[in-house]
């Protein structure tokens, strides 16, 4: 029996387990998925929890429901990966030998990386919304908040879903308007980037929307520390910004097991071939999703597009055929912009988000880089698609490679 071990049962790991379980001969292959947590979270839904649009139950399901019955699942933290020995040691004492390994251990927020962030103000007037705990605590806090200075701060790039902080700003503008206290709230968007987003055209469109919604933009701010007593965030050049409520996007890092195994870069992301998705160091290891160091967005859509590429290349590699599928860095993100509207962006390594129609050129129904109601419905519908189609490895009517058709230069 050949052994495939998949580390991580999140979006990427689950899709790969499902698709490879269908494709590989069960008489020849044993597939094992390892994850430390039994609950699968729909992470894009965390954004809606602070505003009471989604509840916890909307974003949680048991991981076991999505892993096919032919695949062994072990719930345990991983102690260490030993790539030179082709084995993984688990916290529960199990040693898993493998012929092939897929690393899908994701990324997580690490507030402890920033001085004073996870201190006495944590979950009192400082919150994140990238964890279920943070999003829920923020929801309880917002219910009673009477206004003041709301600062949304990105600590350091890269982060998961780079548009989510903007969506938070747009939704906050909408939500405080609904509560009748928008005039009592000042919203500041503070980012280490030179503008609202990473790429020029999207940055200018999204920057204009921030302005229209009366959200102040402070670019080029790299946070050094938080002064909990004086309620200030301070950057490396001693620039200070006051807050009454700080919504932080803490430093994002790969899982600590990657560091323990000596396999990561300075942020614990695994050096990965940006086209084949093979580990740069070990031929029998592939890496997918947020765990890679690829210069693409860290997002579920990216993991999903990567899964098409990894699926083909994995089947080629195990038969010693050349790997022909090449990932282009394709990402596709719905940006909720408040008041029942949304924006859609579609881009890859080389092409920045452009205006146009998606997925059908000239027709849509979605509009790229433009605020429409239809884009909002796309986002609402996507949660259903995620649980019922995407995680189950069902083919979606969208291409894993980005297409120029339908885009305006």
């Amino acid at each position: 029996m050949k052994k495939l071990v998949i580390l991580g049962g999140g979006t990427a790991g689950t899709i790969m387990a499902t698709r490879l379980n269908d494709a590989l001969d069960s008489g020849e292959w044993h597939i094992t998925v390892v994850d430390q947590f039994e609950t699968h979270y729909y992470q894009p839904g965390f954004l809606f929890i602070p505003f009471g649009i989604y509840s916890r139950s909307d974003v949680m399901k048991p991981k076991r429901d999505f892993i096919p019955s032919g695949v062994e699942v072990i719930f345990s933290p991983i102690e260490v990966i030993e790539p030179n020995e082709n084995r993984v040691k688990l916290d529960n004492g199990t040693i898993l030998n493998y012929d092939w390994l897929i690393i899908a251990t994701g990324a997580k927020v690490v507030p402890g990386e920033t001085e004073g962030l996870a201190d006495q103000g944590w979950f009192k007037d400082i919150f994140d919304f990238y964890t279920i705990e943070g999003a829920s605590a923020l929801q309880r806090h917002l219910k009673f908040w009477e206004g003041g200075r709301l600062v949304i701060n990105i600590s350091e790039m890269p982060i998961k879903c780079p548009v989510a902080p903007l969506e938070f700003a747009f939704l906050a503008d909408w939500w405080f308007t609904e509560q009748g206290i928008r005039d009592k709230v000042e919203i500041d968007f503070v980012t280490p980037l030179p503008g609202a987003f990473t790429r020029p055209r999207a940055s200018s469109v999204l920057g204009d929307i921030l302005q229209k919604k009366n959200v102040n933009l402070t670019p080029d701010f790299s946070i050094a520390r938080v002064d909990n007593d004086r309620k200030k965030i301070i950057d490396w050049e001693e620039k200070e910004i006051d807050y009454d409520l700080l919504v932080t996007i803490p430093v994002n890092m790969g899982d600590a097991v990657i560091a323990r195994s000596g396999m990561g870069d300075d942020l614990n992301f695994v050096p990965t071939d940006k086209q084949t998705l093979q580990s740069l160091k070990y031929e029998n290891i592939f890496v997918i999703g947020d765990a890679t160091n690829l210069p693409s967005s860290k997002a579920g859509s990216v993991a999903h597009f990567e899964s098409d590429i990894l699926f083909e290349n994995f089947l080629a590699a195990v038969e010693d055929r050349p790997m022909r599928a090449a990932f282009d860095g394709h990402a596709n993100c719905y940006i909720e912009s408040g008041f029942g509207k949304g924006i859609l962006i579609d881009f890859n390594y080389d092409t920045e988000p452009l205006p146009g129609k998606y997925p059908l050129p000239g027709i849509g129904p979605f509009s790229l880089l433009e605020e429409t109601k239809m884009n909002h419905y796309g986002k609402v519908m996507f949660r259903w698609m995620y649980w019922h189609l995407l995680l189950r490895g069902v083919e979606l009517p969208i291409e894993s490679q980005m297409l120029m058709a339908g885009k305006r230069l």
Partner: protein
Amino acid sequence: MATEEIAGHSVEFDTEGFMVDHTLWNEDIAREIAQKEGIGELTERHFDVLKFMRQEFKEKGDGPSIRALKNRGGIPTRELYELFPGGPAKKAARIAGIKKPTGCV
């Protein structure tokens, strides 16, 4: 692209002001770019940063992030901002004669 006369050499820069060919770099070129970037006289400590950046670039094909400079280059972030105020990763990469690090957007 633009070609400029720097320290007696004709040096090519990309549209964002990064040297196209890092092998042409020398310390005099670095001193002159530093003046243009508003950094002033380069000290030994500046050169520690520049040398680490060039070494990383040669080994990995990419300049180091601020985090890598701290973790592996032994340069505390606060000091790095003092040495190269106003966006140290980008400015130091320009002065070190290497391409724009992919971590900088």
